[in-house]
């Protein structure tokens, strides 16, 4: 899935001798230019999908920090308010939605369930994943808002 570049193929045994004899074997060395992922839209979207991990990780670390800050007591605690934080969250939300869309769509390819000897269509499986996402989001939002004052 992730492996686009591959290791340099090892030289076959005896290649050094062959090279010294003047008939160098042709060793396949795939070389990817630095900007290979900018060449095609699909390559670019693949790298964006893999990159989503970084902003999501940063946001979760912020959440962990936010939890830890509660230990400072009522006087030391202040909720996040800055415009920079909101902008950061908006950017992260874009990546988060892209991760959700790509990962939940994959379920149709990965999950293979048979019901009464007939395979469940991948579209149904993908739809069930998106439905689970929707229900979970509504429940979590209700809890986060419901326990506020």
């Amino acid at each position: 899935m992730e492996t686009v570049t591959s290791d340099v193929v090892k030289e076959p045994p005896g290649s050094a001798e062959a090279a010294s004899a003047g008939s160098a074997p042709r060793v396949y060395k795939p070389e990817m230019p630095l900007g290979w992922w900018l060449r095609q839209r699909h390559y670019f979207l693949y790298i964006v999908r893999e990159f989503t991990a970084l902003p999501l990780a940063l946001w979760l670390l912020w959440l962990l920090f936010e939890i830890q800050r509660a230990s400072t007591g009522p006087k030391g605690y202040y909720p996040p308010e800055s415009a920079a934080f909101v902008v950061f969250s908006v950017i992260v939300l874009g990546f988060a939605l892209y991760h959700s869309y790509t990962f939940l769509s994959l379920a149709g390819v990965i999950i293979n369930i048979k019901l009464l000897d007939k395979p469940i269509p991948s579209r149904v499986i993908v739809l069930s994943q998106f439905a689970a996402w929707f229900v979970a989001s509504v429940v979590i939002a209700a809890v986060l808002i419901g326990f506020a004052r």
Binding site: E2, T3, V4, T5, D7, M32, L34, W37, I47, E50, F51, T52, A53, L54, L56, A57, W59, L60, L61, L63, L64, E66, I67, Q68, A70, S71, G73, P74, Y77, P79, P80, E81, S82, F85, V86, F88, S89, V90, V92, L93, A96, L97, H99, S100, F103, L104, A132, W133, A136, S137, I140, A141, V143, L144, I145, F147, A148, R149
Partner: protein, 132 residues
């Protein structure tokens, strides 16, 4: 010969565990993270809706609930096993073959283990357990 064949057919349990964690972390991140970012990162700070982390008293009471602690442990720790794998291979794809090596694996997956430990510690020490 028979011994060699038996050894080759041994299931790769290590791969099984890391792939399981990768997949579970991915699905947890996909289903749970966007709504947290939207509510706690955007709607709350913009005062569009009241959110539990906007006031100390509601936030600390919320964090004291054992179900919330368990949920937050899963929400924060599990995705890092997914992120570790993705970021390691992102480096490989961007031309850093060293990311394939054993030390790199130790750093990335070890990092996920460390974050799991830190999350566990923060959740246990931040708010006292309360069942109310």
């Amino acid at each position: 010969m028979r011994h060699d064949v038996a050894r080759k057919r041994r299931p790769a349990f290590t791969h099984l565990i890391w792939w399981f964690l990768f997949a579970q972390g991915g699905i947890i991140a996909a289903i749970l993270i966007p709504v947290h970012v939207l509510v706690q990162g955007i709607l709350g700070p913009l005062h569009i809706v009241p959110v539990v982390d906007r006031h100390y008293d509601t936030w600390i009471r919320f964090l004291g609930n054992p179900i919330v602690k368990l949920y937050l442990l899963v929400l924060i720790a599990a995705p890092f096993f997914h992120f570790a794998h993705r970021l390691r291979y992102l480096l490989v794809d961007l031309g850093v073959p060293a990311a394939r090596t054993l030390p790199a694996q130790a750093v990335f997956y070890g990092g996920a283990v460390v974050i799991t430990g830190v999350t566990f510690w923060v959740l246990l020490t931040t708010a006292p357990l309360s069942f109310g």
